[in-house]
Symmetry: C2
Subunit: 301 residues, 2 copies
Amino acid sequence: MLAPGTLAQVRRAIEALRYVPNLTAGSLASRRSRIVAAVVPTLSSSIFNDTIDGLSQSLARAQYQLLVGQTNYRADDEREVVDAFIGRRVDGLMLIRSLPGTDVDERLERASVPLVETWELPRREGALMVGFSNRDAGWAAGSYLSAKGYGRLGFLGSATGRGASRYAGLKAAARDAGLAEPALQPISAMASLAEAAAGFHALRAREPQLRAVLCANDMIAASVLFECARVGVDVPGSLAVMGFADLPIASAIAPRLTTVQVSAWDMGFRAGEMLLSRIGGDVDAPTRIDLGYRVIARESA
Amino acid sequence: MLAPGTLAQVRRAIEALRYVPNLTAGSLASRRSRIVAAVVPTLSSSIFNDTIDGLSQSLARAQYQLLVGQTNYRADDEREVVDAFIGRRVDGLMLIRSLPGTDVDERLERASVPLVETWELPRREGALMVGFSNRDAGWAAGSYLSAKGYGRLGFLGSATGRGASRYAGLKAAARDAGLAEPALQPISAMASLAEAAAGFHALRAREPQLRAVLCANDMIAASVLFECARVGVDVPGSLAVMGFADLPIASAIAPRLTTVQVSAWDMGFRAGEMLLSRIGGDVDAPTRIDLGYRVIARESA
DNA sequence: CTGAAAGCGCTAACAT
DNA sequence: ATGTTAGCGCTTTCAG
């Protein structure tokens, strides 16, 4: 039996000796690491940071910790980092896929570590995901553009993965509106702002009639806006530009950027919640959340 | 003795059974977690991402993994996250300090986890650090501005921590050049672009004679540039604007941003290397790296 | 309910 | 060189 005040003494001793329980030992014994991992294409881009932030916040509430790894859009890096996380016995993993068709799902499945995918929403049985349809979002952007009366459309962004889906949606919208097929100017998924600028000029050279350009993300769109300012192209008068993601810069830049908002922070936060409830054994928690997208009409298109 | 081909069989069996060694058990037994942690003020800002990226890259080479935590510029969050990392027995920790004067050093010291600080360079015995002098960098910016002939100077940024050091340097440069004390418009360290814009307008209202403004980072400067475009202020004709950090946007924006480059990625990479060699027991590895700063003259000032 | 004991899956130190 | 064994510091189970 504990004498009154004994607990307090113990606490004081703990503080005095600076005893810190070893979570590693705890993890081994309990078979629970209290660690969740995030695997993202790149850490040095504004695009996914909000998602990581959101994940981090939901994990922090539950005293979980966050391990991060980047793939640089390479399949073997993705596999390597995922294997390392499996070895670490993470309790769950959030993935923003770098490329389609890798076998990481299977590996995680076999190790029975819960996986939640974000930034897309493929239909796959039993998979956890929180995101939106990139194709539909691209379609919405295209419809907005055609409804505004812009005729000749273009797309500036990656021609693979999510970028390809957005372009496919844009193409479908153009077809639905009876417009010509939008021009595609592919740039790498990790494109620097300089690369984006060069891609824009290439697109303009190829398509002198270009009336509106949809960019794969707001940073690319910002770069386009900068180039327009530089060469004196009036936006949206001579050219409409539309971004994607609704990053903070979109509502600050001049002219303010018309874009497709996609709840980047929420995807991370909800991904964390999904993982946590799955880890907690909650069976009837949602497994698939469509956060949708929303065209935000501002000044640039 | 291993029969020829036995090793190959074992490997095949490992692959077939999908056996993945448990790193947690290894950590406990070897007293080496092969994890390094990064504690940053915020994850959802472009400012520190390159540093985290650099750290991540140097750790990946050594098969180390990266745990991240954010403090939201709050002392108690910082302490909590650092304690959790100590409990996890991380082999090292990189810290971008949120506020001065917290006791995290002491706690890490007692737990004997190597600490490397970045984004500043205080003189402290035995401490690991890789960074630059914020005060000197602020001074360099101020000298550049005064040499360009701009009279009335201003500063837009946090009035605490690194921001305060940069302002102190700016003030010293103004004094050295015989100019009036630069106006200080404080905004929070986590300021949104909208807050930065509002701060800029407040500064202009207060100081109608303002000729040049130094911003605490390039995102704030970008926001200022956007507002100038919006209200028709000619940059640098009517107002010079200078940024800090040399983020990718600095060289892309129109007009291109004059700024102070500070090797964000390298700070992270070198921090990782310092930690790794310290963990490896290398005694005569460098403990203090001054990466310096460099004024990059572009169009905006 | 409290307390002892048996692992968790590795590494490292030892013995052979 | 190779094989064996004793922990690492917790959680959990099982007696009492």
